[in-house]
Symmetry: C2
């Protein structure tokens, strides 16, 4: 066996173990009886350790140093990803890994308590040490990757992405949104005030399945279940989604279905020949989010899909019109809670988090000052008075679970979706695509994404390289701005 | 860390990986879309390899040689189980392990084809090499364990069990059954001929849940799902069962529920402090089967439970009487198919398999002669003419999947159940237990088993030692004979 073959074998093993862990996570969220949590945590800890041990093994370093790699872009890219993974796995000392795991568990538990009491001070004693450890982690990762601490964290979720690029993009976006949001709100102020569509959960489930079948979700290679937070997980052969039904708002569940189906389509479309190799994986979370937002935001909330969705609702006995559905899916309103935000005000939530988390990692912002900083920022950018903690700085789990550098991928994903969709429209033909979407038919859109994005794995070194290869230019706010103007002001 | 602590840590890791694999198996049988099979096989292969690598690691041998073990029966037993596992994992060469895995996969696939064509000759070319490899495996295990080849296979499923003990037991049992079966059949010949109870599958599911709740199955620590073959899997915290509903026979599904609930009760009752250690596991398959058969056969098909079950059926709108249910659950009839056999004729199927598989392993019986040997045996012992292959030698997957030495545990389990139930009756009080069972109340029975069996893990070196410790005598056919005479002739 050559050094490269040995590497391939070992990485395949680690990847299969990670897949096993992902199914245990799925089970935990979907089927596991709640009394099983302790055994499950230990099973997951052992799998994480086993996978990490394979990747961080010093022998991998030796093999990487001696392997000779075929002069082929895929083999080269796979080798690059192996190096990335080994570097990341060895950058942080085992002691710090353990300390982080404990601190995350403590902070997450305290966060749940703090939410029950609607009081940020409850989580603070557990959150402060976690932030300190994440700073250490960021510094260690930064050293190993020759990146600034915060860029090193970003790089975990969106390889190659830098804070200064994001800053440029977000500055422009802030300016754009500050101008356009009042215009949109004024325009929508004339809309009739309409209640959401209430629907029986069994009917919603049937409509969800109908929707999935129409857009081409393959139930021989996937499932739809239910969980508290919708998510998607899986492999090329078995990509599952979960839904959550709200009896007071049928459209919210269907939109989540489209969102998760976009993630699942990405998973299903990954390159088969590289199925258990690093290069066979998705190109980071920005790109993943671009696929879910293409399915949900770009296509799903379009005028065309509104007509299809109203048809589904009518057939299920819920009388409504295409116009009503469109207004419900496109209503814009500044709000406190990120996950409930519309696509226009959503970036403001992300920009807030991007600024604050940079401060937390650099030390410019201390954890104890987070709440004040949060509320001040909201007042400045959304014109809303400071919320309570539950709807304020306690609303997201990410930071309290140690995930910094993740939030930006949501909005970068939205911008990427807009830029990709624009290119897809050109290639497919605007009218053809519109006609298809009017029938809930995602096939041309899906073919485009499968060919241009899904099948590319992480052949490109960064999502920016991939976007540039597909759309002819690096990521910018242009397509998103055009999209928002067209959808909300035309 | 002492050598013993290091051993405990490593075995815990292997056990948690095995648990993860068991959930992936559960998922594969219950929820996985069928298109996921290839990815799943690779995930399972990697987990099996990872667990085997931990147990077979030569460092385990060194640690076992140097560890000093506390003078405490549990610590000593745990150490003994570690030695057992390490010996078994290192007895067979990696080449043979791989060859066996491939031969099993081929033979299993060929078995499915052979069943489709109802032709034993279709599986024979794949089955012959598998039998040869299993002979090699048995010889290697036998060398390592200082046992005969067949005893070494038995030992995998029922530690310490020897073929010559089984022979004595089965000889006596054959004689008993040859005498009593005609008597029972004659007696039951006077019963009215009655059709099975047909019931809607949704109703059967509800009755299954009702039954589980009544007997004390804890849905906070378990689930009931559906699969082609009912099974049970899990850990102390999360023990699940699956059911299969037959719309033409409501009682068959409910009996399978009781059977699997018996397995799950054993899993739930294992000693918590040893939860991830070898000694914390069940005491082999004979003992496991004794628990499922206590729930299903000893308690479930009793006169008392018939009355409770007829109540459940009546409440669900299926009019029936306690007498009818009892007759349906106690009807005896020689038949070809093991899994459909009643408890009286069941052992004949096992005795057949026990004799033939000893021949296959020793070489006295060649795979090509299996079919003839099978059919001859049936004619001699059941008085039935030779069946076709599907209902004959192709009916069970076990051998074609390389499992030899497993079959005896079914009947040894039935005998163990009878012997344990007799002791339980004495301790609880015959009348009290009967009253409880009349209400579907398994609590005293379950308490007895939890205390005497479940919580003992594999503290004892063999199931025979455990049975002797609980009932005061080694396993014999006495209690089973008493039980059969009482139930079928009184």
């Amino acid at each position: 066996m050559t050094a490269l073959q040995e590497l391939e074998k070992r990485f395949a093993r680690a990847i299969r173990i990670d897949e096993a862990a992902s199914w245990l996570h799925w089970d935990q969220s979907v089927t596991m009886p709640k009394g099983g949590i302790l055994d499950r945590s230990e099973q997951l800890a052992v799998l994480a350790e086993a996978s990490h041990a394979i990747i961080s093994n010093p022998e991998i370093g030796d093999l990487l140093a001696t392997a000779s790699v075929k002069d082929d872009v895929w083999y080269q890219a796979n080798f690059r990803e192996m190096q990335r993974m080994h570097t990341a796995a060895t950058a942080v000392s085992p002691e710090l890994v353990t300390a982080l795991a404990h601190a995350k568990a403590k902070s997450e538990t305290a966060w749940r308590l703090a939410r029950n009491e609607n009081d940020f001070n409850v989580v603070l004693p557990a959150f402060e040490p976690l932030v300190n450890l994440v700073r250490e982690e960021a510094a260690a990762l930064g050293d190993a990757k020759a990146l600034s601490p915060y860029d090193a964290l970003l790089d975990q979720y969106d390889p190659g992405r830098k804070a200064n690029e994001i800053e440029t993009i977000f500055d422009r976006l802030s300016q754009f949104l500050a101008e356009i949001i009042p215009e949109i709100i004024e325009k929508q102020g004339k809309w009739p005030s309409e209640p959401a569509i209430r629907a029986d959960v069994t009917d919603q489930r049937k409509m969800g399945i109908r929707l999935l079948k129409t857009i081409g979700f393959d139930f021989e290679h996937g499932r739809m279940d239910e969980s508290i937070h919708p998510f998607s997980t899986g492999t090329i052969e078995d990509a599952r989604i979960t839904a959550r039904w709200d009896k007071d708002d049928a459209l919210s569940g269907l939109m989540a279905v489209l969102h998760e189906a976009g993630h699942a389509a990405y998973t299903r479309g990954q390159p088969k020949v590289w199925r258990n190799q690093p290069v066979g994986a998705a190109a980071g979370m920005t790109m993943h989010e671009s696929q879910s937002l293409t399915f949900e935001m770009q296509a799903g909330r379009s005028r065309e899909m509104s007509s299809f969705l109203s048809g589904i609702l009518n057939e299920a006995g819920y009388r409504t019109s295409a116009d009503y559905v469109r207004r419900a899916l496109q209503f814009v309103q500044p709000s406190y809670v990120r996950v409930e935000a519309d696509e226009v005000t959503y970036p403001i939530h992300i920009i807030l988090r991007f600024e604050l988390e940079q401060g937390l990692i650099s030390g410019d912002l201390q954890p104890k000052d987070l709440k004040t900083a949060w509320n001040d920022h909201l007042e400045t950018h959304l014109g809303l008075p400071g919320p309570d903690d539950l709807e304020g700085c306690l609303q997201d789990i990410h930071w309290f679970d140690g995930a910094f550098g993740y939030f930006p991928t949501y909005t970068l994903g939205a911008l990427t979706a807009a830029q990709l969709f624009q290119t897809a429209e050109k290639e497919i033909g605007k009218e053809k695509l519109a006609t298809e979407l009017g029938n809930g038919d995602y096939s041309s859109l899906q073919d485009f994404m499968a060919r241009e994005i899904h099948s590319q794995g992480c052949l490109h070194a960064s999502s920016n390289d991939l976007i540039a290869a597909v759309t002819g230019r690096p990521l910018s706010t242009d397509a998103f701005e055009t999209h928002i103007k067209h959808r909300y002001l035309d």
